[in-house]
């Protein structure tokens, strides 16, 4: 029984971070129809930035985030403005190609600078544990979960009740009508992409403590993020967080109850099963 609780707790903690990763992708898809296949490589980039900041200044990832957030946000804005925007509105596959290319560039760029050895970024919370009865939790996971949910709620409130948030939703629901309201659609798309990439800087710092990193890991994060976004129904906020939890929990269950290597397949199997029976995603709203 304690194994079950352990797996559930771990799944919720990891899943909430997956949800956060996916919110960024969902937001971007919602306003510009871009599915970013380099999403995971941007997480890599943020993680290796944290590593570099540790090597150079011994900064803890939780501190580095103050630097990586603005840098990643700026990178996101530039990438959208100069690479993606000229392609948006043409064939969907061209945008996919472009982001796949970007993924290779990022991956090999990181490989060139940091080499192919798995690396670790130490953090003060790395070895801290919280023990609740039979369940042993890593402090880093608890922090990750709390921050992920706080950010998700913050984003939700921002989308609901600020003019910027309403302009994002307006562009999502009808870009032509949004332009007639005096909303600069192109600017909203750039800012949303920048926001989506900026969020990754936070997610990277949350995932880092205790996790080895390597330049080729990006695709794995991209695939996990895609699973979550699709499960959540692409643009549904609550659905995406729920999807993150489903994937996180099935991953944790897989590694606890099935063998370590085979267990990694569990989230994908669960995903296929859910898609077979609920192709519209997890949420119940008919569109």
């Amino acid at each position: 029984m304690s194994e079950l609780w352990q797996a559930l707790a771990q799944g919720v903690f990891i899943g909430s971070t997956y949800g956060l990763l996916a919110l960024g992708m969902g937001l971007v898809y919602g306003v510009s129809g871009v599915v970013n296949f380099a999403h995971g490589d941007f997480i890599s980039l943020a993680m290796f930035m944290c590593l570099a900041l540790f090597s150079a200044f011994s900064l803890d990832p939780y501190v580095s985030v103050l630097i990586t957030i603005p840098v990643m946000t700026a990178i996101g804005a530039l990438v959208y403005r100069f690479l993606l925007r000229p392609m948006v509105g043409y064939k969907f596959l061209m945008v996919v190609q472009l982001t796949l290319g970007l993924s290779l560039v990022l991956q090999n760029g990181i490989l060139m600078i940091f080499g192919g050895q798995p690396a670790r970024t130490p953090s003060i919370v790395e070895s801290k544990l919280i023990i609740l009865g039979d369940v042993v939790l890593r402090l880093a996971h608890v922090i990750a979960c709390a921050v992920a949910f706080a950010m998700a709620i913050g984003l939700y409130v921002m989308l609901r009740s600020t003019d910027f948030g309403r302009s994002i939703r307006a562009v999502h629901q009808n870009a032509h009508a949004a332009a007639l309201m005096g909303i600069d659609v192109g600017r909203v798309q750039v800012m949303t992409f920048a926001l989506g990439i900026g969020i990754l800087a936070v997610a990277a710092a949350l995932l880092l403590p205790g996790t080895p990193i390597q330049p080729t890991q990006g695709l794995q994060y991209t695939v996990i993020t895609l699973l979550v976004v699709v499960l959540g129904g692409m643009t549904n906020f609550v659905g995406i967080m729920l999807g993150g939890l489903v994937i996180g929990i099935s991953e944790a269950m897989g590694t606890v109850y099935v063998s370590d290597t085979l267990g990694r397949l569990v989230p994908y199997a669960i995903f296929v099963l859910i898609m077979l029976f609920r192709p519209q995603g997890l949420t119940w709203r008919a569109s």
Binding site: Q173, L180, M181, I183
Partner: protein, 234 residues
């Protein structure tokens, strides 16, 4: 107030509008008539800056706005209420109205303007927190007009406001048009419905396959045989 001179516009290099000239004076309600495919929506979208003109000039308040972006035009008060309403379906009535007043010029005035709009459309007041997608067609048209007014419109351009509405609602919406006219608003009524528009506008232009076939006071346009021709495509 708004003047168009020799406008040529269209999509992907193919002109739909040829040599259009028209003007709207302050406080006037002008009708823009024409059958389907005459180019009415292309014209209104050129005025909104959605379609970039290939030639000609658009002058607003003495300023050349031919190259101004849609955003800049909304900022100046050139507001379009689009065909088919295009309300934001998943947002509440209140949020739709707030978005109407999104531009910098209108934003600080939103609370006051919202009161005015809700006084004009009491139906919307009852439905403030309801998603716009759940409103009836007539209510959505009220919302679309209300949203346009929230932008502190100086010229309000209504694209096919009667489209798909029951006769009762058409009466109501055109009653609102009359009321706005009495309040001194400058309006462009883009319509297919000939007789209705002639009753509510002071002057009219009739578009036929991308050029202006007839223009003049409503009475003159009404009695000009070319008006019917333009409609029937003879």
């Amino acid at each position: 107030m708004l003047e168009v001179e020799g406008l040529v516009a269209g999509y992907a290099g193919t002109p739909i509008l040829r040599d259009i000239s028209l003007r709207l004076d302050r406080g006037e309600t002008v009708g823009l008539l024409g059958a389907n495919n005459a180019g009415k929506t292309t014209l209104i979208n050129s005025l909104s800056g959605i379609v970039t003109p290939m030639a000609g000039r658009i002058i607003f308040d003495g300023r050349d706005v031919t190259r101004a972006t849609p955003m800049q035009r909304v900022e100046m008060g050139i507001i379009q209420v689009p065909e088919g309403r295009l309300v934001f379906p998943e947002m509440s009535v209140r949020e739709n109205l707030l978005l109407g007043g999104f531009c910098d010029r209108a934003r600080p005035l939103r609370p006051r303007q919202m009161e005015k709009v809700l006084a004009l459309f009491p139906r919307l007041k009852e439905r403030l927190s309801q998603p716009a997608g759940t409103l009836s067609g007539g209510e959505q048209q009220m919302l679309a007009i209300g949203r346009g007014l929230m932008a502190e419109a100086r010229v309000l351009m209504l694209d096919e406001p009667s489209l798909g509405l029951s006769p009762l609602f058409v009466q109501y919406i055109f009653g609102i048009v009359d009321q706005l006219h009495k309040d001194g608003l400058t309006m462009l009524l883009v319509e297919q419905n000939l007789n209705l528009t002639l009753r509510h506008a002071q002057r009219c232009y009739v578009l036929e396959r991308g050029h202006i076939a007839v223009e003049g006071a409503a009475e003159v346009v009404k009695n000009d045989p070319r008006t019917r021709q333009a409609y029937l495509g003879l």
